[in-house]
């Protein structure tokens, strides 16, 4: 079985750059739980496209600026 590529993100940095937004605030804005945000920041969960786009919209940036594929 082919190894899944890793997905990294800049959520933590973007949070701090947006008025030190808390994980709970980001979760509320993106419509997910704080646990999901924590797992995303730790790269332990791969979000759906919808959630990824919601998170990017919260920060006002493109999805590619938030999530990057590491091959």
């Amino acid at each position: 079985m082919a190894e899944r590529p890793a997905l990294t993100n800049t959520i933590r940095r973007l949070r701090f750059n947006h008025g030190e937004m808390t994980q709970q605030q980001l979760a509320d804005a993106a419509g997910c739980t704080r646990q999901t945000i924590v797992l995303l920041e730790q790269s332990r969960y791969v979000p759906s496209l919808v959630l990824a786009m919601r998170i990017a919209k919260v920060f006002g940036v493109a999805v590619e600026s938030v999530f990057m594929l590491e091959e």
């Binding site: 997910c32 739980t33 646990q35 924590v38 797992l39 969960y45 919808v50």
Partner: protein
Amino acid sequence: MEIIYSAVAVLLAAILGVLSVLLALRALGLPSSTTDERLPSAPLQRLGVSALASSLVPAVAAVWVILYAGIEGYGTRDAVRLLVQLLGAFSVIAAAGPVVVARRRAARGALRLDERDEQILAGAPVTQSWVVLTMIVLWSIALTELYWDAGAVPVGAVALLLWTTVMAWAIALPLGIIFGYRRA
């Protein structure tokens, strides 16, 4: 007269079940006690723990009654049968009720279940399937060993097989939710 006893048992089970569902639903609003760096618990995760705890108590009590009275006692004594049915129904409501209510609240927008929660909920029935299969295998082996010489299985044993399997199936739902959060 037995119909009245059964009706009372069902009514008591429903009341106890609703109370335990309300208690489990309170866990949805509890704040997560972890720090920002450790993994906080999700509302559905807390509900799963609460539902599992409240459903295990009557289930263990039912098993204790069954072991105390035996299969023959279950088949011949009305009080034993009604007590097991009461505890069994209570256990099922306590296990599955909170999850059903949580899904309805989420559909109305009153509760947040995100995509991860939905994935975990969708995966919980796998645990239920394994539990049911295990119960059927265990009961089959037990009844075969106990009644092979007799050549027939008492009706009470069949009823117990059903009740215990249904209880285990219901309890496996919050258990599957908890396993899902540990795996995810």
